[in-house]
Assembly symmetry: C2
DNA sequence: GATAGTAACTATGATAATCATAGTGACAAG
DNA sequence: CTTGTCACTATGATTATCATAGTTACTATC
């Protein structure tokens, strides 16, 4: 393909974020980072993406100010990736994606009898289901407010990817 | 590139929707459909995508049950594209993208003095800003609840695309 | 009634992004 | 001094994307 058209100068807010998020690799890497999986090899394994793609996208995310690269060990020198505030704010989008999928993306019974990931509000303990505000306490739900519990089937899939 | 890896069988809800949404063309076309722009040529013009890409993606969206193709004229035979309920539910995701961009994706003053798109709650008239629930009446905000008003600069951009 | 639109597409060739696989550099452990 | 770990980089085959032009089936105008 020719160089993909650049949308970063459009004034449309959906277009702007589409430039960043309209890319499978980016979405998967952000999922990993939002789940607190920060190491290169773990991200590559969990997403199934090749190291070259992971490398290229992480560099881009750092350049965009969405993630930052930190040394977590000096000897041997090792780096991992953390979300910035700008990156953490993407939680709302990925959470909306999760909510849509739980409702529309599975065949009946495909996830067992519950959702693929059960989310609980950390501060009040309520199961939030797919709500935008906590049904227990009415608080808005943002980055870090939820504790996710993958279904047994999903957990098994995750284990098989890293094995 | 080789055939892109298929994620549609992953049990992760973010992975599932990433298969659909991790594509610039899809996001832009969904934006058009959510804004009520249903005709092929208009979608192509507003997104800047070539007709072949628009055609391929619309076919996919129809196959996925996100959109449907309807005849709006018999003589001459002409078709356009409408969102299904499954498609309308994607509003939450695009709205979250818009909210993120309004906060993080513009240089200071780039959009004038307000947001790139001002959204007003249809039923109560309140300016919702970038809230998830209406600050005026407390209602949840979904597809069709909001009336968007693009800033003068964005409106000019849209006009220039269709000219 | 021949020419010029209009709208929704399809066809073609050049280019570049992606994948799979293998390899590198710097260090630690046995 | 060989093996292992981790964060990458290198290479070649494949294919999606872009730009541009063309097609089909009508309607409207001259």
């Amino acid at each position: 393909m020719p160089k993909r058209a650049d949308l970063s100068d459009t004034l449309c807010p959906v277009g702007r974020s589409a430039e960043l998020l309209g890319d499978r690799a980016v979405l998967l890497i952000l999922r990993e980072l939002l789940f607190g999986r920060r190491r290169f090899e773990l991200i590559a394994a969990n997403t199934g993406l090749g190291p070259q793609l992971v490398s290229a996208r992480l560099k881009m995310l750092v350049a965009e100010g969405v993630a930052e690269r930190r040394a977590y060990s000096e000897r041997p020198l090792r780096h991992d990736y953390w979300l910035t505030d700008k990156g953490k704010a993407l939680f709302d989008i990925l959470y909306a994606m999760r909510n849509w999928s739980e409702r529309w993306a599975y065949a009946p019974g495909e996830t067992g009898d519950g959702p693929a990931i059960r989310y609980v509000h950390r501060t009040c303990g309520a199961d939030v289901g797919t709500a935008k505000i906590c049904p227990g306490c009415g608080a808005e739900l943002g980055y870090g407010d939820l504790k996710g519990e993958p279904s047994p089937a999903l957990k098994a899939e995750q284990v098989s990817r890293t094995a």
